[in-house]
Structure formats: structure tokens, C-alpha cells
């Protein structure tokens, strides 16, 4: 009595169900739906996408290294998801506003981050890693799915203001189970809000395979809420960029929300606190290494004679330079003084807290010599 949906317990088959432009071996496959959205993307642009992905991978590796060295409390690696993040974020305009989860290092990068912007939160110095107004991006969100509703509200504001900006929200496959994410689709659909949902289906929510959340393609949920969707190969940077351009066009032109499921893979641990060998096969990881998004674009460009060893070496050097700056910014951070614990709770004076602060200041003062 209902449309048949194919279960996707198996990842190989899974990937076949998604739209792509670049095959895993780097060859270009015609895609009548997506091609028009990247007709303008020439080899120079492809090289620049590759560059971003390589730099992102380096930033990510630096994050892991800094954590291992005790300089960060935690890091959530995005290795394997570079095409999804760089491809979609490249399609954004600066005026668009992003509501991310915690794994969108590539989106932070694409929004023009300064070196320290990657680490302030993970180092435990600040609640937010960067200034939302500067990057056009809400702080990293740890509560799974909560940000999707914020994006819808922001989009309602855009609608009310009558501008053509778009709100974009990123979330994982696990997040799709949260009530908030479903409510976000409902609100977005009811108000036809200019919001784009980007689900990064990286196959895992910590130790749970995506089949715990859904045994069916996640992109298949959106149409039931009246939201058009596309399921795209998340390791194909061109397909990701094309899908995002489609979605942004759709939202920007007043047609309401759009939904992208990017099928990708988390190659590293969930976070630096995680040990994925406890729950997943080496074979699965190996099969995804063969679908590495960076290798794929590199193969494509090399086959086209558009990439030299020098190009790659130059990019690696640039990436190392970014990583070095990030490290320096991280190590150079100065923790705020004790009383900063009270800063910024309220916008306006609060008698109770102000008194607590004063009491604590007096208490601290008793430790100061000579007092």
C-alpha cells in the first residue's frame, strides 16, 4: 500500500543509490540532473576545490595531533567528509548563514576562518570557536539536531526581511532520529522557509551504523514532509557542489526548503576519545579508503593532465603552513582569569549573579599575598 523503499544495510549498494558526477576512479559520468549546476566549473576551479580539500585534511590532522599532545580537550575529525563539506560550502554566498553541528571543520574553513577559529572551543577556552557574525555561522552545536530548528527560525527571519539569503544547516545521519530535526522539516515546510538541510550520512553515529537510525535512504524522508530532496555521493565534490547549488537556488528563489543527503564516510574515530576498532571492520574502512574523495578528484585532474606533482607539492606546503598557523594560534592562547567564569551569562545586570561574583572575588582575594 506504500511506495517500496529499498533497505540499505549494505554500503556498496548504498552508494549506488546516490547521484554522482565523478565515479570513484575519477572518471566523469554524465548526470543530466546535476550537470547543469556545475557547467561553469572549469579545471582551475576543480584544482581549487582539491586544494581546499587537501588543506582541510591537513587542518583536521593537526587537530588530532594537537589533541594527542594534550593541547586540545577533544577533536572531531572530518577525514573522509572533505568533499561533502567543501563541495556544499563552496556553493554558499557570504550572506547565507550556516547552523553546523560539531564536525564541520571544512565549512568553518570555507567561511574564511582565522587560525584560532578552529580550536577555541575544543581547547576549552571559549564556548564558541569563532564570532558568528564574522563567519556567518552559528557556534558549533553539540546537542544533536538542535541547530536545525535555529536554521528554520533564521530562515523565517530572512523571509520576513524579504532578502534572498538562505539558512543552511548541517547534521549527521544519527541526528535524523531526533525529534528536533523532524520538527525542523515540518516548520520549514509549513512556512516554506528558505532553508537547506544538509545531512552528512557518514554511516556511523559513534558506534551505531546508520541502519539503527534508518534502514531506508534518509533523503526519502523529506518528500513526505513536502520537501524536495536529493541523495548525493558525498565523496564526489562536484556532485555535492551541484546538489547544493540546486538546493540554494530552490530556497533562494522562494520555493521553500530543500534537503540533501550526502552519502559519505567517517574515516577516523568519532572523536579523539573514540576507538572505532571496537565496533567496525577494518574491511569496511579499507573499502572506503578506495573511495577517498581527495584521491578521486586528484585522479580526475591527473587523468585530464590538469594536475602536476608540483601542484600537489605546493598545495601540501600551503596546507602545512595553515596547520602551523593553527598550531601557533592554539598554543598562544591565554586562558581567561578566574572571574571570567561569570562573564557573559546575562546581557544586563543580574543582582544574584553580581553578588556571587563579588563574593567569589573577595574569596579569591584572600589568597593574594599581603591581603
Amino acid at each position: 500500500m506504500s511506495p517500496q523503499i529499498t533497505p540499505i544495510a549494505d554500503t556498496a549498494q548504498d552508494l549506488e543509490l546516490s547521484e554522482r558526477i565523478l565515479a570513484p576512479d575519477g572518471s566523469r559520468v554524465p548526470n543530466p540532473r546535476l550537470d547543469p549546476f556545475v557547467a561553469d566549473v572549469d579545471d582551475a576551479q576543480l584544482r581549487s576545490l582539491l586544494r581546499d580539500m587537501i588543506i582541510l585534511r591537513r587542518i583536521d590532522a593537526e587537530g588530532v595531533a594537537l589533541q594527542r599532545q594534550g593541547q586540545l580537550g577533544l577533536w572531531a575529525p572530518c577525514q573522509g567528509q572533505e568533499a561533502t563539506q567543501i563541495g556544499t560550502a563552496r556553493a554558499l554566498s557570504p550572506q547565507d548563514f550556516v547552523f553546523p553541528s560539531y564536525r564541520e571543520t571544512g565549512v568553518i574553513y570555507s567561511r574564511g576562518a582565522q587560525p584560532a577559529d578552529y580550536v577555541r572551543m575544543w581547547r576549552g577556552e571559549e564556548g564558541a570557536s569563532y564570532d558568528p557574525a564574522v563567519l556567518g555561522m552559528a557556534p558549533l552545536q553539540i546537542i544533536i539536531g538542535a541547530q536545525t530548528l535555529h536554521a528554520v527560525g533564521y530562515a523565517l527571519g530572512i523571509q520576513h526581511d524579504g532578502t534572498d539569503e538562505v539558512a543552511v544547516t548541517y547534521f549527521g545521519d544519527g541526528a535524523t532520529s531526533q525529534g528536533d530535526v523532524n520538527e525542523a522539516m515540518i516548520f520549514a515546510s509549513s512556512y516554506q522557509a528558505p532553508v537547506v538541510f544538509v545531512c552528512q550520512n557518514n554511516h556511523w553515529a559513534i558506534s551505531e551504523p546508520v541502519t539503527v537510525q534508518s534502514q531506508y535512504p534518509i533523503a526519502g524522508r523529506a518528500p513526505g514532509f513536502g520537501i524536495p530532496s536529493v541523495r548525493v555521493d558525498g565523496n564526489d565534490v562536484l556532485a555535492c557542489m551541484a546538489a547544493m547549488r540546486w538546493a540554494l537556488d530552490h530556497a533562494r528563489s522562494g520555493k521553500g526548503p530543500a534537503y540533501i543527503e550526502a552519502v559519505t564516510y567517517r574515516m577516523g574515530p568519532h572523536t579523539t576519545a573514540d576507538d572505532p576498532t571496537r565496533y567496525r571492520d577494518e574491511a569496511e574502512l579499507a573499502s572506503w579508503r578506495r573511495r577517498d574523495p581527495i584521491t578521486r578528484l586528484e585522479a580526475h585532474l591527473r587523468a585530464a593532465g590538469e594536475l602536476s606533482d608540483d601542484d600537489v607539492a605546493e598545495t601540501q606546503a600551503a596546507a602545512d603552513a595553515v596547520a602551523k598557523e593553527m598550531r601557533a594560534a592554539c598554543l598562544g592562547m591565554v586562558t581567561r582569569p578566574a572571574l571570567a567564569v561569570f562573564d557573559g551569562v546575562y546581557a544586563e545586570p543580574h543582582a544574584g549573579l553580581d553578588r556571587q561574583r563579588a563574593e567569589y572575588a573577595a574569596y579569591l582575594a584572600t589568597f593574594e599575598s599581603g591581603v
Binding site: 564556548g127 535555529h150 523565517l156 525529534g179 520538527e183 543580574h350
Partner: protein, 333 residues
């Protein structure tokens, strides 16, 4: 003007003053809300500013957070007190924390209006007193009104505040009338955080808020007949509590009763008594007492009169705090 109408007038005024003020809630548009507080606002301000939402409280508050990110000042109506819990995560983990998380780069000038508390013979979940949850949550301000004048003024103050405010409206007073100065400049009003001595007295201090302020005043009158002078304080702001005013009164009377409808364990009265004890220990002549709802889920309507503190229970506590058992209730006589 009734308290309900005063709230409506406050909303209208706030919307006129600032076009970033938008309202969101269930049934607040055409219907004007189940309590008619937003009556007429849809016609006046249009559907873009008076937004009937899908039936999902987390969605409502989460959407309001996004509007605040965009520079709006959303005012959310939760239909009844017992329906705020699905939004608890968005309130506690987002609304309360975003200002701190971003060190003020993102402001959360939300007002969350909650028709509140019992005594109206309602079905389950329609008579809750959840204020302590929000008082315990750093980053929120909590206001509870008890009369039309305060309702009008503090709702406007809440909306104008750059901080999130949980705004409790005692639903059994919606039809109660009182004078409202509609045109007095907001700048001249007492700040939102201040308590009010509703009645001056010398023998004991009765501290409460919301609908129980009038019960407390009745108690003070009854006590006066027996020659006992009670001071009655309406806290008005539950976070922060205006402990300067409270302590001034306690230093004078030395005896305290704190009353509310909410249940007792870790409720607001516990907070007030612990703080009073810290600040005024040497002035206390007897143990401060609590008169509260019992530590039971809100009971079925036919039993609510046994749950809610009433005049007799207040007087009984006053008797005890004055060390004269059963003199006021006269029950033993």
C-alpha cells in the same frame, strides 16, 4: 482592565514600539490564543508577526532561537504550563546558554509566556507550577506576575530585555481586574528584578508570588483582626530574587513564611529560605516555614483544593512561625 487584557495591551504596545517583536505559538492567531491574550493582534500586525505554529513546543522555541539569531525579539506563548517540557532542552541548553556560549555575540531576547498554575479545575498537565526548573537554570530570568499593572509593565520589560525571560501568568487571575497605567513611560517603571512590599507589617513576613499574593493579603487581613501585623511581599522576579527587599523585611520581622503552589522539594521556597538564613540568620526568631503544594503530581481537579495552599494553611503557618499554634485558624477552639 483584566490581567488578561493588560497582557494583550502589553504585547500590542511592544509590537508597536519595535517591529522586531514577533509572536509565535499554538492558536495565537485567528483564535487569539486559548486564553484570548493575543486577541486582535493577528488583524493588527498580520500573520508574519503573529505566527500560528505547528503543534511542537521544541519546534516553537527552537524556531524562536533562530529568529533571535537574525535579530528578532520573539515572544513565545506556551499554551499551558504543562506543555513547556517538550521545549525544555531548547530552553535549558540553547536559550539559557547561547549568550554565555558566545560571550554576548549572540543575544537571546526571547520572552516565553506561560499561562500558569492551578485552581481552575482543569485536566492533568493544565495546572503545573514549573518555575523552580527555570529558576535553577542559570542564564534565564524568571518573572511571575500577580496583577494587571505588573503584567502590563513587566511583560513589556521582559520583551525589551536583551536576556531571555520565562514569564509566568497566573491563569486563574486572567479575569481579575485592576488599574493599569497604559501610558506611563517604561523608563520610569521599577526595574524588572524588584520585589514589592504589597502590605507593610511588623510581626512576620509572608513571601509569595503569582496568584497566591491575594491569598497572602487575605491572611494579612485576617491576622490584623487578631492584632497581628503581617508584611506581605510579592517577589515578582524569581530569578534574580530581590533579596535586598526580602532581607530588609526579615530583619524587621524576624519571622518568615514562604508560600507557593509548586511542590516543596527543591522549590523556590527552599531557595528563598536558604538565602534568608544565610543573610539574616541572627535576625531570625523562629524557623522560616514553607507552605506549598505537596510533593505529589498535580492531583485530579476534585482534589486540588487539598493540594493548593489556601488561607487556612497560610494562617496555620503564621501561627506556627509566631509560636502560637492554632490561634489564627482557630481550628482547635
Amino acid at each position: 482592565m483584566t490581567l488578561g487584557k493588560a497582557l494583550g495591551a502589553g504585547l500590542r504596545r511592544a509590537m508597536q514600539d519595535d517591529d522586531k517583536v514577533v509572536l509565535l505559538g499554538e492558536d495565537i492567531g485567528r483564535l487569539g490564543g486559548v486564553f484570548r491574550i493575543t486577541d486582535g493582534l493577528l488583524d493588527e500586525f498580520g500573520a508574519a508577526r503573529v505566527i500560528d505554529t505547528p503543534l511542537a513546543e521544541s519546534g516553537i522555541v527552537g524556531t524562536a532561537v533562530g529568529l533571535a539569531f537574525r535579530g528578532y525579539r520573539p515572544v513565545v506563548e506556551i499554551q499551558f504550563d504543562g506543555f513547556v517540557y517538550p521545549a525544555f532542552d531548547q530552553i535549558v541548553a540553547q536559550v539559557a546558554k547561547l549568550h554565555y556560549r558566545t560571550q554576548g555575540r549572540v543575544k537571546m531576547p526571547l520572552t516565553i509566556r506561560i499561562p500558569w498554575a492551578g485552581g481552575i479545575g482543569a485536566a492533568e498537565h493544565h495546572s503545573e507550577s514549573p518555575e523552580a526548573y527555570f529558576v535553577h537554570t542559570a542564564g534565564l530570568r524568571v518573572v511571575a506576575v500577580s496583577n494587571p499593572q505588573d503584567a502590563y509593565r513587566s511583560l513589556r520589560q521582559a520583551i525589551a530585555s536583551d536576556d531571555p525571560v520565562i514569564f509566568f501568568e497566573p491563569k486563574r487571575l486572567y479575569h481579575h481586574k485592576g488599574e493599569v497605567e497604559l501610558d506611563a513611560p517604561l523608563a520610569d517603571a521599577p526595574p524588572m528584578g524588584l520585589a514589592r512590599v504589597v502590605r507593610a507589617g511588623t510581626d512576620a513576613t509572608l513571601i509569595t508570588y503569582g496568584a497566591m499574593v491575594s491569598t497572602a493579603l487575605q491572611a494579612a487581613e485576617a491576622a490584623e483582626d487578631e492584632g497581628i501585623s503581617l508584611e506581605v511581599i510579592d517577589l515578582r522576579s524569581l530569578s534574580p530574587v530581590d533579596y535586598d527587599s526580602v532581607a530588609a523585611s526579615v530583619r524587621k520581622t524576624g519571622r518568615v513564611v514562604v508560600a507557593h503552589e509548586a511542590s516543596r522539594e527543591a522549590g523556590v521556597a527552599a531557595e528563598v529560605i536558604a538565602s534568608i538564613t544565610e543573610r539574616c540568620f541572627e535576625y531570625l526568631e523562629s524557623a522560616p516555614l514553607r507552605v506549598t503544594g505537596h510533593d505529589v503530581p498535580y492531583p485530579p481537579a476534585k482534589l486540588e483544593k487539598y493540594h493548593l495552599p489556601d488561607l487556612d494553611r497560610l494562617l496555620d503557618a503564621v501561627d506556627r512561625v509566631l509560636d502560637r499554634p492554632n490561634s489564627l485558624t482557630g481550628a482547635d477552639a
